[in-house]
Amino acid sequence: MNLLKKNKFIVFLLAICCFGYVSYTYLMKPPTGIQSKQVAFTGTTTAFITKFQENATDWLNRVVVLEGVVTSKDENGITLNNQVYCQFSTKQKIVVAQQTLKIKGRFIGYDDLLNELKLDQCIIQK
């Protein structure tokens, strides 16, 4: 007890440091990836489009798993059924040709310039 009293200042300083560290890590936390987010929709691209047309704003920033046929691809992503563009986080060489894929990604919106939906942070699931 005596020792604690003597070192009151040091204990106080340590407490401040701890508090500072905890609040700093909380404030500076990087954005959560899609892995830890709940999947809001699973199904085909066509089914998702009907859902999206019912309520457009509801799906913004939600994680979805979409299934469709690969209609085109580039080094940044894949287009499913000519309806949904799925962008990967990093450039990669994709070796798929005309096959069905299941892709998990974050829905970011409807692109009216190209008339397609857009996902980012995509991961190929199957």
């Binding site: 954005p31 919106g109 009216d112």
Partner: protein, 192 residues
Amino acid sequence: MEGRRILRKLNLMKKVLFFLFFSVTISGVSQTYFTRTGSTNFKASVTAFEPVESTNKSTTVILKTRTGSIAAQLFITAFQFRVALMQEHFNENYMDSNKYPKAVFRGEIADFNFTEASIQKEYNLSGTLTIRGVKKEINTTATVTLDGDKIILSSGFTVAPQDFDIAIPKIVRKKIAETIHITLNYELVEKK
């Protein structure tokens, strides 16, 4: 004699037809270049404070090479920040991304001449930028570089938060720059 004349006429017609056909096919070639993954960056950092900057790597851009008209569109939620809290404030407090999910630019590259853009050339770029439903005229320069079958378009300009009715609370006003630098870097490929 008569037969020869007719033959010559036919030959000429053939040439004209060939020329017509050829020129039609040339002008019929797709003149649109586009990207879905253009990168748009903004910097509103003040020295000595946490950098306020972010890049959007999902910008859609369409360039009509014959007229030089350009349209670009990005989703506000696709701006990636280093800090989650900053991203949240950006979306919810400043940009209101649920209500205004997009930022759109429509404009023109003045005197754009595709064939002339041999390696690298600077052009005047002007148009309207719409953020949060508020329009603002932008006048700047853009560098257009031809790299194989790609067109690389890079440009930059500055805006202010109040241009788009974005109110910055007093408590953070010192941490966010008064002028925001926006830089664009788009790699366009031919649309087939």
